[in-house]
């Protein structure tokens, strides 16, 4: 199986007040074409950092970071940018406050010199389940769920083969989360997308992804199938604790 994304021995180190903080240490995995891969972990596990390193948003070191078979680094050519796009966690922070939906969707088309912009914008708006009347609204005129739909439309308008999602629903209500998750799985099929989804919520990751990496304190704990998470057939203790915790509160009896 040709890897769509290959991560080999990835390290990310931040400088925090002169002290180096090793946020990601020696993480390796491979995501196949059309696969949906999940990364779960608690805060400080480095899960979002891995995603940002793949996107080239932060500098990283590795023994090889391949996107669609091609080695990439943090400084990327414009063409490489079309390989993958990102959906951020906070729908309130990921849209420019002074730009309408139309402006937001037009920008990538202008940057890459793509024509038939109006048709593409109208198409993208319809595709994520927004109506034409949302086209010229500003972010403050949209709800959280609608903003996240705009963010997804922005990510997909360049037709990238890969979509990276960083906690796309953790700022949303359960009912809105369900709508966005349904939208993501529908678009994944229709666009034949390769997906990496980062979340702290095992339920969300298991719902959307077939293979899941568990991270703790910057390291990869293990990679399991979604079904193994459900049946509890996992090797590591930490994974078991995560599964137990996600089932809710257990009262000690006796």
């Amino acid at each position: 199986m040709a890897g769509m994304i290959d991560v080999n021995d990835l390290h990310v180190t931040f400088q925090n007040g002169g002290k180096p903080v090793r946020a990601v240490q020696g993480v390796s995995f491979s995501v196949g074409d059309g696969e949906s891969f999940g990364i779960v972990g608690e805060s400080g596990s480095g899960k979002s950092t891995v995603l940002k390193a793949i996107a080239g948003l932060i500098p990283s070191e590795s023994a090889g970071l391949l996107v669609n078979g091609k080695p990439v680094s943090a400084r990327r050519a414009k063409e490489d940018r079309r390989q993958l796009q990102f959906v951020f966690q906070d729908p309130y922070a990921s849209l420019h406050p002074r730009q309408t939906v139309d402006d937001v969707l037009r920008e990538p088309l202008i940057i890459h010199g793509i024509g038939e912009r109006d048709e593409k914008i109208v198409g993208a708006i319809a595709e994520v389940g927004l109506s034409p009347q949302h086209r010229f609204r500003y972010p403050h005129q949209l709800s959280g769920g609608q903003r996240q739909r705009v963010a997804i439309a922005r990510a997909l308008i360049l037709r990238p083969p890969i979509l990276l999602l960083d906690e796309p629903t953790s700022a949303l209500d359960v009912s809105v989360q369900a709508e966005i998750l349904n939208l993501i799985s529908r678009l994944r099929k229709s666009h034949r997308l390769t997906i990496i989804l980062v979340s702290h919520d095992l339920g969300v990751v298991a719902h959307l992804c077939s293979r899941i990496a568990i991270m703790q304190l910057g390291r990869l704990v293990e990679i399991v199938e979604a079904n193994s998470l459900r049946t509890g057939q996992v090797r590591q203790d930490y994974t078991r604790r995560l599964i137990a915790a996600s089932r809710g509160f257990t009262r000690m009896t006796g």
Partner: protein, 278 residues
């Protein structure tokens, strides 16, 4: 359950605004004994407003109305601010979502907890310190002496929330309102904090109102659950029976949450019926 701690009948909260009145809470009625009552709902459902109204914390120009709102037999409506101050912290307390915003950043943890003791229990300095240390130990903080002398920013989220619980429970209130107390915490820490809360509430026979958006936590932690939507209580049911809930909104919420145990190809979306708010 025998003793009614809190009795609420037709409690409403309204905010007059430029474009008309916003009804944040409409005719909510429930009672609370020495038990764990959960309130679940999405944002804007009025769950936090309900908690704040009980504690007299509705900011102006909000209007609070009720046919009955009484705590241990005493009416709570139209109390003076000084009356409230005696009541809050002593007999009823609240834990907020993020300890970072609820703890004073420039005061040591210990100071803040013993301050509560001295204020509400009239303890001496020495006694207050001992009570505070004991309380920090009760919330399973390993090194109470160390944490006693630390500032809030030196604590992790879980530790901060424990310190917050210690501060709120040191005066041994009868009623505790916890508003999303574990939402800012990691899942594995969440359970530890919930366990501490559970033990303390059970041991001391307190009444607890647990406000959360998380159905899984509420149904596993509480005895009874109120489900709120658009400022109204949709339904009240035993926590164990949440999966067998009758109201379409509750059922839709349960079906909308992706679950590890019940994989679904497609998540149910909530179709809202205006009749629910009629």
């Amino acid at each position: 359950m025998s003793e009614t701690l809190l009795s609420v009948r037709n409690l409403s909260v309204a905010y007059p605004g430029r474009s008309g009145v916003t009804h944040a809470l409409r005719n909510a009625s429930f009672t609370l004994g020495r038990e764990r009552l959960g309130i679940v709902g999405e944002s804007g459902s009025g769950k936090t407003t309900a908690g704040r109204a009980i504690l007299g914390l509705i900011p102006k120009p909000g209007i609070v109305m009720a046919d009955e709102l009484s705590f241990a037999g005493e009416p709570l409506l139209n109390r003076s601010e000084s009356d409230w101050r005696k009541l809050r912290g002593r007999r009823m307390s609240m834990i907020m979502q993020d300890p970072k915003y609820s703890l004073n950043p420039v005061q040591r943890i210990g100071q803040q907890i013993s301050e509560t003791c001295r204020l509400h229990l009239g303890s001496t300095r020495k006694d207050a310190e001992q009570r505070s240390l004991a309380m920090l130990e009760a919330v399973k903080i390993r090194d109470p002496e160390l944490v006693y002398n630390q500032y809030p920013h030196q604590l992790s989220g879980g530790m901060g929330q424990r310190a917050m619980i210690a501060m709120m429970l040191v005066a041994e209130p009868d009623l505790l309102i916890a508003d999303e107390p574990t939402s800012a915490l990691d899942v594995t820490v969440q359970n530890d904090v919930l366990r501490i809360l559970d033990d303390l509430v059970t041991e001391r026979g307190m009444g607890l109102i647990f406000i959360s958006h998380n159905l899984t936590i509420v149904s596993s932690f509480c005895d009874r659950v109120l489900i709120m939507y658009g400022g109204k209580i949709m339904e009240e049911c035993a926590a164990d029976d949440l999966k067998k809930a009758r109201h379409p909104y509750t059922r839709a919420l349960v079906a909308a949450a992706p679950s590890l145990d019940e994989p679904r190809a497609e998540l149910a979306t909530v179709v809202r019926d205006p009749a629910w708010l009629a």
